[in-house]
Point group: C2
Chain length 278, copies 2
């Protein structure tokens, strides 16, 4: 089966100090530039997050969505644990008459980041996904919290895909997130993540699998090295929608090389285009 990678650009996140400041000052220029730079660098989706402003998250996320829209036509990954905040952001950039319609050919749906098996989240986010025809990032967690074993991650992934499918959201519209934990907090966390990705992929050939690569390297030096070393291993296991910094040329070069090494670059075309000087 042909594998197409979906790069989710992580830069428009309020936990990044420069973005925090830009949001605080409503600096549309910087936000717009950051969207355009990520698109030019190869992002297929842009994650947008205003979670560091708990008192005005909805208002700021609406502003962020509208501002990004002026600079980029990439589909957005709307990033908030709150269904109410997600709804404000969805309403801000989707004309009401477009709701419940199939998107035009070639236009990708927005993605809600995220749904999970948590009781307070599953129902409301599902309702939004159906109402606004949005795809979902689905975290492998339930009311018991983040799973501690590969087996429970797999079990949660299975439940999420089943319950979403029963409700009309097919696996092709779901980005399963196995919830990487930092290797700094557990020697086995990297390997467990890889095993979880592999087992989820074996269970579902058609869902997307996503993860925030930088979660893995949290608390350690030389984080970009860890992120880009993990990427090819995770791609081999079945990851197809990494959340990463597309402005990091080394990780994007690694992606190009891994694509070739995994037999997904006919006649080395993309690789040669990237690295042969004209």
């Amino acid at each position: 089966m042909e594998v197409i990678m979906h790069i989710i650009g992580e830069k428009l996140n309020s936990s990044i100090p420069s973005v925090f400041t830009a949001l605080k000052n409503r600096d549309a220029g910087l936000v717009c530039r950051m969207a355009q730079q990520q698109q030019a660098a190869g992002a297929d989706y842009l994650d947008v997050n205003a979670g560091m402003f708990p008192d005005e998250e909805a208002e700021l996320l609406v502003w962020l969505v509208r501002t990004v829209r002026t600079g980029s036509d990439l589909p957005l990954v709307i990033d908030s644990p709150s269904p109410a905040v997600l709804e404000s952001a969805l309403a801000a950039f989707q004309r009401p008459e477009a709701r419940n319609q199939k998107p035009e050919t070639g236009i990708k749906r927005p993605v809600l980041n995220s749904i999970s098996l948590e009781t307070e989240r599953f129902g409301p986010v599902l309702a939004l996904a159906l109402q606004y025809n949005a795809d979902v990032i689905a975290l492998c967690m339930d009311d018991r919290g983040i799973p501690e074993t590969v087996a429970r991650r797999l079990e949660n992934a299975h439940k999420l895909l089943s319950r979403l499918s029963e409700n009309g959201i097919s696996p092709e519209r779901v980005f399963i997130d196995p919830l990487l934990q930092p290797v700094a907090t557990g020697d086995e966390n990297g390997l467990d993540a890889l095993l979880a990705i592999r087992q989820i992929r074996e269970m579902s050939p058609s869902c997307h699998i996503t993860c925030g690569l930088s979660n893995l390297s949290y608390g350690l030096p030389n984080r970009r090295l860890l992120n880009r070393t993990f990427l090819p291993m995770a791609m081999l296991c079945g990851l197809d929608a990494p959340i990463l910094d597309p402005l990091d040329t080394q990780i994007m070069d690694t992606l190009t090389a891994a694509t070739l090494l995994l037999g997904r670059d006919e006649f080395c075309g993309e690789y040669i285009e990237a690295f042969v000087q004209p």
Copy 2:
């Protein structure tokens, strides 16, 4: 099972122009420095090759072995397709009285690079390995040449391990080489290599698996990027004895990161030692 990586330094190879010149001029200083640099950079074995001098290969390899020995105590990987050349080199650095004896604790045996299922090679190299108590790199090829499929690589690996074992050389002393082919000559060659490594590892948990990473990138630009992107994927599949350039700091950093991500670096100790500035 604990996995220990065995790094085989590839630099002392006559196909590298500076080494070719050093061999031609019997430049002991350069050869010695290159051995010491590789050891300091983390090599566990040093490959030695004089194959670019067909008329004086044996003589030059003997000189190379003796010269390297003055600068490094690492075990050598003696690299020649010719059993006669291998024997000259073995005789040059192993005292005859040491033959057929178990090596002292902590001293690694030399490795013959290589044996294969080819009729002209199997018997003579096996005899040398037994006589000189040497380990072997075993190429997955037979009289039909380099296999074109993963299945035939696996079949050849199985035959090699069986026939060597029947003759007293246990899998722990065998470094199976699945014979990577350049991705430039076939889109699937990278993926096939990974699948072959994985299947060989599933078949034999105790053999070593080796390969020359740079074979893969032959003919393409930015070869080091391809080599270091392949390494973590191959380690995940079961490679434990890569032949590489230990003076390439980026590939060695990738190795340190991959070791952590695969759960083989307790408390991130080696990673932190490598990357935290004191």
